[in-house]
Structures are given as C-alpha cells and as structure tokens.
Amino acid sequence: MSPRHTLHIVSGKGGTGKTTVAGALGCALATSGRRVLVCEVEGRQGISELFDVPPLTGAEERRISRTPAGGAVYGLAIDAEDALMEYLDTFYHLSLAGKALDRFGAVDFATSIAPGLRDVLLTGKVYEAVRRKIKNRPNAYDAVVLDAPPTGRIAQFLNVHAAVAGLAKVGPIRNQADSIMRLLRSATTTVHVVTLLEDMPVTETEEAVAALRPTQIRIGTVIENMVTPTPLSQDQLQAAATGSVILKVPGLTMKQNQALAKEFGIEAGRTLQEQQRHDRLTALAVPLVQISLDHGGIDEGAIFAIAEQLTDQMNLEAA
C-alpha cells in the first residue's frame, strides 16, 4: 500500500502550468467530505486567479471551490511577514513586539535580507497548516498542496536545514527548521515536478530531481503537462514529419490538403520530439503522469478535467 500523503509540494519551471496543476491536484484530493488546502508562497495571487475568486490576502483561508465529488478546496496565500508576526505571537506572545519590530524595519530586514529566513517562515506556515488540529477532526485539512517556487529554486527552498545553517546553529529558529525538515522528509510528504515535453523544462526537471535526491525529500511524480496524445505509430509520424505523406481529405482542394499536410508535418515532428523527451524523463525512474493539452484555455471545468486525469493516474489516497 502506498503511504498516505498529506503534503503535496508542486514545483516546475516557469510557464509549465505548475499553479494550474497544484490547483487541480487540490481538487483531485478533495473527494467526498474532505477538506484540502492549496497554498502559494510567491505573492502572485496565482490561486485566486486560477479559481477566479477575489485575491487571498492576509492569513485568510477561504473556500475557493467545491469539487464535483463533494469535497472542499481552500486557498491561502502565505506571506513571509504575516508568517513572522504569527510566529512571534504563537511562540512568544509577542504581537506588540512584532509591531515594534515592524516600525524599525526589522521585519523587512529579517524577511528580506537574513538569507533563508524567508523560506523557513514560508515552509513554517505550511508546516503549521499540515499539523493543525481542530475539534472532532484529526487534522484541520485532510491534505495540503503547496504551489512551490520554480524548479530552479525548489531544492534550496525545501532544504530548510541548509538555509538556517549559516543563520543559526542553535535556538528557536533552528528547532523550527528541524521540525519542518522532519515533516518534509517524512513518508507523508511528496514532491511533484511539473514539466512540458520541451527541452529546457525537461532539463530543469532532471536538474531538480538530482538536486532533491540528497535532501531525502520524496519525489512523488513527474507530471508531463499539456501533452498531445496520438493514435499514430512512430512510422506514421515519421513519414508525416519528413513530408512524405500526401493527404487526401475529401472536400478539400489540393492546395488545402498540402497546407494541412505541411501543418501536420510540424505537429508530427513535435510529437516525435515529445516522445524522445518522455524517454529522457523515464530514465529518472520516477512515476510519470500525463495531462493532455486543453486548447480552450483554463476555467473551472478544465481544472476539474485535469483533476480527473490526475486521479486516474496518481493513486491518490482514499478518503
């Protein structure tokens, strides 16, 4: 039996659709009666945009979607400064001191320039959401999905230990980092890397997987996004790509048939390249998931459709 994952971390190169996949994964996990939190950490308001709801501000955790399966998806935009204030308040009952610090520019200082502290605060808030208990439920949320920083930064972002190593060898921040690291390395946390079947995203996926391995954080799946499936064989694609196919669509003129053949030749060439990149990803020995391209743009229906594809392929935990 595969372990129950309660924290799903979604990364990917910019432009690969990682926020869309994170949102869809949230929906996929929100089966009947379940509550799932989707959080973002880059201040882009990507989640509220995706679900077409008003911006998520402050520490607000608002329901952004009810899934067809009867679950609920909540959204949270984590802000480092809010997280620091909350941290001060929770651990030291220092909300006033926090405000004083803010006045002196210390919060700006601490979250902007103390390297790694921002990441510790952001992951710290995720940690809090995963571990939070409420009355009559073992956890406030059944699963948490993190729309994480892009592949180029993901290993550094999650390697909280390394982030604080130069910062604090002892003390509360160090202890906090230790707890976060334990959660990230546990069997209930998994990282998904979203990629397109294009050269650079695949290269960055390979690099991210290599960079994550030493952190002992589990890599769940590599998600190939916007894939165009084809019923044609390699030979048929090859023939089309090299221009040796003559199309005879009834009702089209010869010129139109030629234009179609030329256009399809490019598409077939692309599909062949995609297959080569798929082979490169196979070599990573991480389970692969494919999401087909939606040409109509992304709306709630498209998110649910992607969620369904994820459910079919990902062996998500049962409710």
Partner: protein, 392 residues
C-alpha cells in the same frame, strides 16, 4: 483562402488586426543612441531567447554587442551554442561580422561579482574578513534579491567599460524570472534602506545622538531578535556591517548611477510575454510598473503565437474527421483533429492578446510565431530575430 502564405517560409493566417502600434526592433537596434536594452517578463516566456536573438541581430547589423543574462539556468549558453558562460564576456565566434559588429555573451556569477566588488573596494585585510563572514557567504550566494543588486553592479561595470574602451556600444540584459526582475528598479533604494538602514544602525553600538534615546526600546527589540535568530547571527551581522560599512556608500552611489542610466534615453525596456492569460497578466504588471517609474519602455514582445496557413474552421475540420472516422484514413483524421485543436488554440490566444491590447492600447507590440523546434543554435536565433523585426 489566403495567398499571403506563398511569400514567406513560415506562412501566417491573417489575424484579427489590432489597432496597436508595431514595436520596431530594427529601429531600436539601428538607433546608435540605444545603449542598453532590458528584457523583462515572467518565467518561461522566452526572455533569454529574445535577448539573445536581439543581441545577435544587432551584432549582425553592425553593433558591438554584449548580452548579459542574470538567469541562473544555463539557457543562454545553450541558445548561443557556447559551452560555459561565466562572469567574463566571451566572444560568440560564428556570427556574420560583415557589417562590422561583434557579439559577446556572459552569465552573471552573483557571488563572483559580489566578491570582486568587496576585493576592489576594501583593504586586503577587510576584504578577507568580509569574505569569511558567515552572513556574507549566505547573503552573497543564497539571498535571491542579491541577484538584482549584482546585476545592477555588473551592468554598471559593463557600461563603464563600454564607455571607457569602446568595447561595446550596446548592452542587452536578460532579467531573472518573475516579479523579482523589477527589484532591479528598487535595488538602489532597497540596498540603502536595508544595508544602510535604521535597523542595522541600531544594531551597531554605541548609539550616539538622537539614536541613544531609542536604546531602551532597542534593547528590548534586540533581545527579541536574539531570541528568535540566536545570538550568533546578530554577531555575524554586526561583524559584517562593521567591515562592510565603508562599502555602503560606493554601492549605493553606483546603483543610483545605474538606475539613472536605466531611466535615460539611452536605455529601453522590452516586456516579453506569451499569449497566455498568466503571462499577459504578469506583462501587464511589468508595463504598469515601468510606466509608473517613468522608465523608457519600447513595448511588448509576444512569443510563441500560433498560426495556421489553412483557413478551415475547427468545426468543419472535426466534422470531416468524424465522417472519415471509420475509414482507413487514420492520418487524415489525426491531421484534421490536430488542425481543429490548433485553430481553437489560435482563437484563445488572439482573444487574450486582444484583451491585453484593448486595456493598454498605446503599448507597441511585435509577435513571434511558435516555432516547430526549440531554439538551440545561431541559425534558429537568427530566425527568431527576423520574426521579431518582421511586421507581419
């Protein structure tokens, strides 16, 4: 049916013509007063490729160009076909230099640049102390904002070198992905407010003058900070600040000078996007922000715009495909389905572009159509440069 496809190697379907001004790349690179071109935009929109293509086109038009990427991934290196890029501009050898131009490429080495600044502007002992400091090590290699500060430094250095020796007459700058790219603009102010700011001053004993009055409040705060971060970090920061103090002024001064250079008529910003909702939303943010700061913005480059030379509606293509479904014409069926998908994609994209243009009608635009393969060599870069400059 359109015949416009006959003239060009890569034909286009006439698109909904927008009444937006055309962004004329050749005019920009042909203007000798343009000395700096900055490409910004969100991640994955082809910024690096665009920068490299503009640099190459300018070089082959006779400009002496250096292209600076501050993106940590080695993408430019891949696009330019040069193995490794480091902090030193390296000549790109196989360009067409008939017009008297040249092209150098480099990738920003963040830590290397920071180290160089420290070494160049302090005594050997002080430099040693700074370079060894834990806080400095973390700041110079891990803090993401450092990239923007160092990019400003490097841009300033390249500009001075260009002015002094005539090595280059055009600098093309690629920026880090996402919004942090515009931290570029905030760098001088941010740098002074953080490194030279009140908080760091408060950390530095002894407090003299009016600051002394705050010391009671401060010792409470200092205790809180120590409690959170641990005493060691505070000590590291103090040591760092003490050793670094002499460098502050120079840093701020140079960053301010570069900022002024960026706002001058010698610089111009290009916002790069793709015709997707997210990328255009980010582009809108960049355009608005640059306009707010009164930065010289030339316009938008929209990459990866899909086109088709076959004026066959998706509905009709699918209907014909359905008619053929049970025949042996499997390739035809697939070709028609793909065409239908492509047409739907084209419709979605032009809707997005139109929405953007109607909200910001004065922003000039050039579109680059989606290419069949990745841009990994100079020939492909040249092709992108041609498409960038081409009005249709």
């Amino acid at each position: 049916m359109t015949d416009s496809g006959q003239r060009k190697a890569l034909p286009e379907l006439p698109q909904a013509r927008l009444a937006v001004p055309f962004l004329d790349i050749d005019k920009i690179i042909g203007d000798r007063d343009t000395k700096i071109i900055i490409c910004c935009g969100s991640g994955g929109v082809g910024k690096t490729t665009t920068s490299a293509a503009i640099a190459l086109r300018a070089a082959e038009a006779g400009r002496k160009v250096v292209v600076l990427t501050i993106d940590p991934a080695r993408r430019l290196a891949q696009s330019l076909g040069v193995g490794e890029l480091d902090n030193t501009p390296r000549p790109v050898p196989v360009i067409d230099s008939a017009a008297g131009g040249s092209l150098d490429a480099m990738m920003l080495d963040m830590k290397g640049t920071f180290d160089d600044v420290v070494i160049a502007h302090s005594t050997p002992e002080k430099a040693e102390a700074i370079l060894q400091n834990q806080f400095y090590v973390a700041l110079s290699s891990e803090f993401s904002g450092t990239q923007e500060y160092m990019a400003m430094e490097k841009l300033g250095q390249l500009h001075s070198e260009a002015e002094a020796h005539g090595t280059w007459d055009l600098i093309v700058v690629d920026t880090p992905p996402a919004r942090s790219a515009l931290d570029f603009l905030d760098a001088p102010e941010h740098l002074s407010s953080l490194l030279d700011g009140r908080f760091l001053r408060l950390l530095m004993p002894p407090a003299r003058g009016p600051l002394r009055l705050m010391s009671a409040g401060f010792s409470m705060m200092s205790a809180v900070i120590t409690k959170i971060l641990g005493a060691q970090i505070i000590n590291d920061v103090k040591t760092f600040v003490r050793a670094f103090e002499a460098l502050f002024g120079g840093f701020r001064q140079r960053a301010t000078a570069t900022f002024q250079l960026l706002s001058s008529r010698h610089s111009t910003f290009l916002v790069v996007a793709t015709p997707q909702h997210d990328a255009l939303r980010e582009a809108a943010y960049f355009v608005d922000r640059l306009t707010e700061e009164a930065m010289p913005i030339s316009g938008m480059v929209i990459n990866r715009v899909h086109t088709s030379a076959l004026a066959l509606s998706p509905e009709r293509a699918l209907a014909v495909a359905e008619d053929l479904a049970d025949t042996s014409a499997v390739v035809e069926v697939e070709a028609l389905r793909r065409h239908a998908n492509l047409m739907r994609l084209i419709a979605t994209e032009s809707r997005q572009i139109e929405r953007f243009a109607s909200a910001r009608p004065t922003v000039a635009q050039t579109q680059v159509q989606s290419l069949p393969t990745d841009v990994t060599d100079l020939a492909a870069l040249r092709r992108v440069g041609y498409l960038l400059a081409d009005k249709d």
